[in-house]
């Protein structure tokens, strides 16, 4: 089971990387929802344009912050760890069906 290590060189860097990782995941979720709504044609062209501009600005701002504090690699690593945690959790769920011993 992978663990999430937030000890960067500096504790504050580690925490910052964690915050950025969480914000990135939120933005990804927002983008997916925006695309879903685009595909189901529930947004006007003007709404699409406005939403797209906001999300683009958010992404640019996150990239700028990562660059400035130098935590890009830490963020990628954290998100990789989180992927591992989620995969393991899903496997555990799969294993814990009734009548089957969980690993």
């Amino acid at each position: 089971m992978p663990t999430v290590d937030i000890d960067g060189d500096e504790a504050s860097d580690g925490l910052f990387a964690l915050v950025i990782a969480v914000v990135e995941i939120l933005v990804d979720a927002l983008e997916r929802e925006a695309i879903r709504r685009m595909e189901s044609e529930s947004l006007t062209d003007a709404e699409i344009e406005r939403l797209g501009s906001h999300l683009a600005e958010l992404e640019a701002e996150i990239d700028r912050l990562k660059e400035e504090v130098g935590v890009g690699d830490d963020v990628d690593r954290l998100r990789g760890d989180l992927d591992g945690l989620v995969s393991d959790a899903l496997l555990d769920l799969d294993d814990s069906r009734p009548g089957v011993d969980s690993r």
């Binding site: 925006a34 695309i35 344009e49 939403l51 797209g52 501009s53």
Partner: protein, 306 residues
């Protein structure tokens, strides 16, 4: 039915390191009495102890291997594999033992154990007879898969056209939409290729096991680095009759001819490391069964080729 084995890294009295069990016909007595393999683990000579039509390949030892000493374990694993291969060549598909299995009490103890378990051993050996393990690894180039998908999907073409004449905010979302569809399609394309390959192999093989990433590399100490630059791959062990070795190779040749395939590795025949029943696992849990787990180490591909 586990053999009474000794703890790893300890001294044993009149120990016998066990490599594998093989089937020996009664009328092969000359052949089996003469058989030996000089280049075993720790340079020891491996020979055969037989009883009731089954034989254990062993060597005399005074200590059990210490699994904590990784560099010597790696060396010993290759020797272990070498002896199991030689025994397989002489007596047909062997039932390989976990690396580091040592029985105390000399040839008599091994013989006694063989006599007690001969029926089960024969049953396992009969089931394995004439069949071998093969390792297959197929890699695909993600960029090439993406190109194929892009040229075949109308929706992607449509999105690309819209992208060209849309304003900044819209094009940002359209690009995301494009990327997501592309990655879903590439994933689907890879899955389709894997299931197509599995379907074609199915009539040629008995069993298939998906393999994880190699946990230990025998060539260097950086096995884990191999994960980073890999595209989508299929790594499996299959258990197949010897006569299907070439037909399987033909299927893989077809796959290799696809422009999106980066690499095909096909190795074997190996002893059934993945498919043999684990004899030690049936122990009674009171410490008798203390073999190292090193047999799960990937000693197959890389140590030879087909």
């Amino acid at each position: 039915m586990s053999a009474p084995t000794a703890d790893p890294g300890t001294s044993v009295s009149d120990g016998r390191y066990v490599y594998c069990v093989v089937a020996v016909e009664e009328d092969e007595s000359d052949e089996r009495d003469d058989w030996s393999e000089p280049n075993g683990v720790d340079g020891a000579e491996a020979y055969l102890v037989t009883s009731d039509g089954v034989g254990a390949v062993v060597h005399r030892c005074e200590r059990t291997p210490n699994p904590a000493d990784l560099s010597s374990v790696k060396r010993s694993l290759l020797r272990h594999q070498h002896v199991v291969d030689a025994a397989g060549e002489a007596f047909g598909t062997p039932l390989p033992f976990r690396f580091g299995t040592v029985v105390e009490g000399g040839d008599e103890a091994v013989e006694r154990w063989l006599t007690e378990t001969a029926d089960t051993q024969r049953k396992h050996l009969d089931a394995l007879s004439g069949k071998w393990e093969y390792r297959i690894e197929v890699g695909w180039d993600e960029d090439a898969l993406a190109e194929t998908v892009e040229s075949n999907d109308d929706r992607l073409r449509e999105l690309a056209e819209k992208l060209e004449d849309s304003s900044e905010g819209t094009s940002y979302l359209l690009q995301k939409q494009y990327d997501k569809r592309l990655s879903d399609l590439v994933y689907g394309e890879r899955e389709a290729r894997v299931s197509d390959l599995v379907e074609r192999l199915d009539p040629l093989i008995d069993r298939m096991e998906e393999l994880g990433r190699p946990s230990v590399s025998l060539e260097d100490d950086q096995g884990s680095d191999r994960q980073s630059d890999d595209g989508p791959t299929l790594r499996v062990a299959v258990f197949a009759p010897k006569q299907n070795e070439i037909p399987i190779g033909d299927v893989l040749d077809d796959v290799e001819a696809d422009p999106e395939t980066t690499a095909v590795q096909y190795t074997g025949p190996w002893p059934p490391y993945t498919f043999a029943p684990s004899l030690g696992d049936e122990g009674n849990g009171n410490g008798e069964s203390t073999e190292s787990n090193a047999d799960t180490t990937d000693v197959g591909p890389g140590a030879g080729g087909a």
